[in-house]
Symmetry: C2
Subunit: 185 residues, 2 copies
């Protein structure tokens, strides 16, 4: 599989990573949340080649995560701002940060703490269930197929084909779905 095909998997993790899952991309997003907006400031922070930075920013703009807004005329210059889709990445950054704090501390404690203005306390983010409020633990959460996956599984059963392993299902369903869409169109 080519990396470019990940976005067509019937899997939200794969689709998210098709936008975010390359070197530097989430560090650009981190900087954007810290208030960085201009090309030269991203470059000063990340110290990567202009070519690579430009390529990553372009991809984030085309995915609708950042938007280019002119901040100067003659010559026109643009800055990059998080869109609503970009701001929605906040929980991903916070869970990455928490994991780094917990498991990649260099022995000097967390580089940063986070104060929650609602309660005024230093906060640790916890992923919870929106229904009961309890923390979500992997052993207490079971995935259930949505309509695309379940229609693919129904198809396999009807033709007597073997079910692929759970790991392969997202990719196989995507191939089936694309062929199916071609048949329909």
């Amino acid at each position: 599989m080519k990396w470019e095909d990940t976005e067509r998997q019937v899997c939200s993790v794969a689709r998210a990573l098709s936008v975010l899952g390359e070197r530097w991309t989430l560090l650009i997003i981190r900087d954007a949340f810290r208030g960085t907006r201009r090309f030269d400031d991203f470059q000063a922070s990340l110290d990567i080649t202009r070519h690579r930075l430009s390529e990553r920013l372009k991809k984030l703009v085309s995915a609708g995560v950042l938007t280019r807004v002119p901040y100067q005329e003659r010559p026109v210059r643009y800055e990059y701002r998080l869109t609503r889709k970009g701001l929605a990445l906040y929980p991903i950054l916070m869970t990455l940060s928490q994991w780094g704090d917990d498991w990649m501390d260099d022995g000097n404690g967390p580089p940063q703490y986070y104060r929650h203005s609602v309660c005024g306390k230093i906060t640790r983010p916890v992923l919870t269930c929106d229904q009961c409020g309890d923390p979500l633990r992997p052993e207490e959460v079971s995935p259930q197929q949505g309509s695309v996956l379940s229609s693919y599984v129904t198809h396999l059963k009807s033709t007597g084909e073997a079910l692929p392993s759970e790991g392969e299902l997202a990719r196989a369903a995507s191939q089936y779905w694309q062929a199916h869409i071609k048949e329909l169109s």
Copy 2:
């Protein structure tokens, strides 16, 4: 900056991404959470070259996210299992999945739903404050420097040097800290 230097930044997001922030790595972790353990099964799921898969698995083992466990003798064969450090990646995967559901849906609804066995309901993960239980919103959370960052800022102030932008701080502090450690040792 080289990618290999990200782990030395005084920033937990950068440190986390030094392990996770490359193409395929988080898809390997996704498959591990779905129960995939063997090299050939990861390969069947991801359909990437054996060389690349091997390189990624090796890195995850050396970072302590996966561990190699023999499952067969003569010849000895190994499978890959999530460690505690690996299991702690669960909130990162769930927030990625949620963002994919919300923003990269192809119009067919979420590929998967998640049922929470504690309350029995279909759950949407929410990132909340461990102190007050409210959802964490970026505009209500302020970062505060931990000891390494704040000692670096104190140093800059004492020498009258200009403070770098927030985006650059993590990298500059890391350079200062490394020089400082060299002086001490």
